[in-house]
Amino acid sequence: MTVQAQRQDIVSKKGFSLQLPERHLPITLLLPSIIFIALVVGLPMLYSLYLSFTDYTLTSGSNFHFVGLENYKHLLFDDPMFWKVFGRTILFITLAVNLEFLLGLGIAQLMARAIRGQSLARTLMMMPMMFAPILVGLQFKWFFNAQVGLVNNILYTITGTAHLIPWLIEKNLGFISILVAEIWMSTPFMVIILEAGILSLPQEPFEAADIDGASGWQKFQLLTLPMLMPFVYTAMAIRSLDIARAYDVVSIMTGGGPANRTELIWTYVNRLAFTGQQFAMGSAMSYITVIFSFIFTYMLFQNVLKSRWAGEMGEL
């Protein structure tokens, strides 16, 4: 009996029939979920898109007006803070993702080669991922506290003189501090993805390279890294989008301040839309960011696909 016949048999025994062609079944089963997602995600998003074309504020009540692209024009052409914050967010993503990649790759290589204690090392490595970002923010806020923080205390122990370095306040130090917290929290993710990639690589090319007398660096440069690229792009794509949403850690550690020195796009959106009550402007900024994220993701996925095709065609 074929699967189709079995299904019809079951349906007839139960006394009802869906009367649907086979090809409509999946979409029929998925329809409730699609409707649910459209209601809880799609409608609010459409509504906020509509609000981004109005002058709505949180105290407007029903008294607001359609202003067309005014909010978008203001942000793109009249608000220097938007571009400053946007540029800082791009820099933050670039530095965080690349440093996480370098650290992650190094640790993954070491862990993949470990003969003993791999399970323990993996468990320990995952610990930062077990903390809620808010806790990570609080922890690093204390680490970098100028008066009682761990970092200044270590400096005091080493040098013997008190250093009241305001890590979270000084122009570049504040940015570096939130970067360190973000990297500490998320490097394990890179390690896990890259180690999985390293362990899944075929061994034959490496054995051939050994016979040919390739050095370790040559094997890494010419075999490991190229074959690992699909994993690298996937991990970087996920992390880039993840960091682009950075809010919790920054909000707790510095709140985007002082004097906007550590403001990233989502802390700025929050400050504008809620404390500043400019909900429509905040919505417009969200959509600009989403569009940029979309373009960035498209480019990144193109690279993922290219690297996979290249691998399959044996071009590497």
Binding site: M45, T59, R245, T254, V269, G282, S286, Y287, V290, F301
Partner: protein, 459 residues
């Protein structure tokens, strides 16, 4: 031999579009979310006991339920312990639909009023916040529910700070105002009487006491804007003129901002003060590293607790300094209760508010150290304090009452106060950190505030 595979652009766009939009919806801080529905009650509604006797005939609100959106934390919940007594007297029930700290509660109220999802009768309120709710048409004027006689025992300045557009919107429950706290063991013989003296004292303490910072201020958000507001007011400035044009970039404002910047540059304030909020400055003081600063009365019991504070018994309090304007600083605010416009049980809600802000409610809160709103309760407290073993007990109460009667100043009672603060405080931080000159910084902030006020329809 493999052939080059391709994914159509349309397919790719479908997939990534769904992924990006989905993730954006998940992460966008509510800017792309619909305002949430009111929270489920955090306190289960009281359920009548099956054996309870039927309600006595004649109870005024028998069978009615008053839904309440309330503040929690600290000593605020103690007052709610009186509610069963009101329920017994009136036959009504009180159901808490939300409890959160002040800022959470405000955020929730703003969102509920904006979304039209208010389904409660009584809302916690604050003098700094209620103008937003009035503008959003969310509150019911209280003049029809509270007679002049009902209000006669409340400290007049508190009631004045609950009025707007000639209507009463909030019934004050308690208030707070700051006074000067200064260490008596660091060579300061008396409290500074002017802001110039305050600055000089802070610099002297820093110079003469290694490891001690002369002073500090909470350095961000409304906390910083508020401190700036009260110093520049004492110096003779105003945030706005009578046409709502921003005027805080006047010489008085520049003098106030310059004082902050110079104290920071001289090392007379902690280097990370621009990251401090209320609990941070209080902790600095109890850790014994601050010489003189302005602080809310509400922290007093913490400061005098020898188990928690290194400065217990080593500090005194005084009225806030004056400035060139000849008035004392006195940034203040009060907590209270309002009735929402959407309330279904307005009469019962008004009765509940009367009960909670009654002499009985005030006395209960006063025992916890809270600065309450009724004059008669203050008179009683001060008399009782004469026999206290705490050397500052009577002085503290008399000072707080004097400040409430003479110095109590709220920020402008407009919905734009917090958005204005949101513009002002990063600029003040820039000034403190030396990124911009005080005059230029305040001029830029005034331009931005003017633009915001213009959009809000003030000109």
């Amino acid at each position: 031999m493999s052939t080059k595979k391709s994914i159509s652009r349309r397919d790719f766009l479908k997939l990534t579009g769904m992924a990006v939009l989905g993730s954006a919806a998940a992460c966008t801080p509510a800017a792309t979310e619909a305002p949430p529905a009111p929270a489920e009650p955090t306190t289960a509604p009281a359920v009548p006991e099956p054996t309870q006797a039927p309600a006595v005939i004649g109870k005024p609100f028998d069978g009615k339920t008053v839904r309440m959106h309330a503040i929690t934390g600290g000593n605020y919940d103690e007052l709610y312990k009186l509610i069963p007594k009101w329920e017994e007297q009136t036959g009504a029930k009180v159901e808490f639909v939300f409890k959160g700290n002040g800022f959470e509660t405000d955020k929730r109220l703003v969102q509920d009023f904006a979304a039209g999802t208010v389904d409660y009768d009584v809302a916690w309120d604050h003098s700094s916040f209620f103008s937003q709710y009035v503008k959003a048409d969310g509150l019911e004027p209280l003049d029809n529910y509270f007679s002049p006689e009902d209000l006669s025992d409340f400290i007049p300045r508190l009631v004045d700070a609950a009025r707007r557009d000639d209507k009463l919107w909030v019934i004050p429950r308690h208030f707070d105002i700051s006074c000067t706290h200064y260490r008596t063991d660091l060579g300061l013989s008396k409290a500074p009487e002017t802001w110039d003296e305050f600055k000089a004292a802070a610099l002297d303490i820093t110079k003469n006491n290694p490891g001690i910072f002369g002073t500090q201020f909470a350095g961000k958000e409304e906390a910083l804007s508020g401190r700036f507001y009260e110093v520049q007011t004492a110096e003779g400035g105003q945030l706005f003129d009578d046409k709502w044009e921003p005027t805080f970039n006047s010489p008085a404002g520049v003098k106030a901002a310059t004082m902050f910047a110079e104290l920071y540059a001289a090392g007379a304030m902690p280097p990370d003060m621009t990251n401090f909020l209320w609990e941070d400055v209080a902790n600095q003081f109890v850790n014994g590293v601050i010489g003189v600063y302005t602080e809310w009365f509400g922290w007093y019991s913490y400061f005098q607790d020898p188990a928690a504070s290194k400065v217990a018994g080593k500090f005194d309090i005084a009225r806030q300094p004056m400035g060139d304007g000849g008035v004392h600083s006195g940034w203040a605010g009060h907590h209270g209760f309002s009735i929402t416009k959407a309330a279904k049980e307005k009469e019962a809600a008004a009765d509940l508010i009367k009960f909670l802000t009654s002499v009985e409610g005030n006395e209960m809160e006063a025992k916890l150290g809270i600065l309450v709103s009724r004059q008669s309760v203050w008179d009683k407290l001060i008399k009782e304090a004469e026999t206290s073993t705490d050397p500052l007990a009577k002085k503290r109460l008399e000072l707080a009452l004097l400040q409430a009667q003479e110095d109590f100043k709220t920020p402008p009672l407009i919905a734009e106060w917090l958005p204005m603060s949101n513009i002002l405080y990063p600029v003040l931080q820039e000034i403190i950190l030396g990124d911009v000159e005080p005059q230029k910084g305040l001029d830029d902030a005034a331009t931005q505030v003017r633009e915001m006020m213009s959009k809000a329809g003030y000109y």
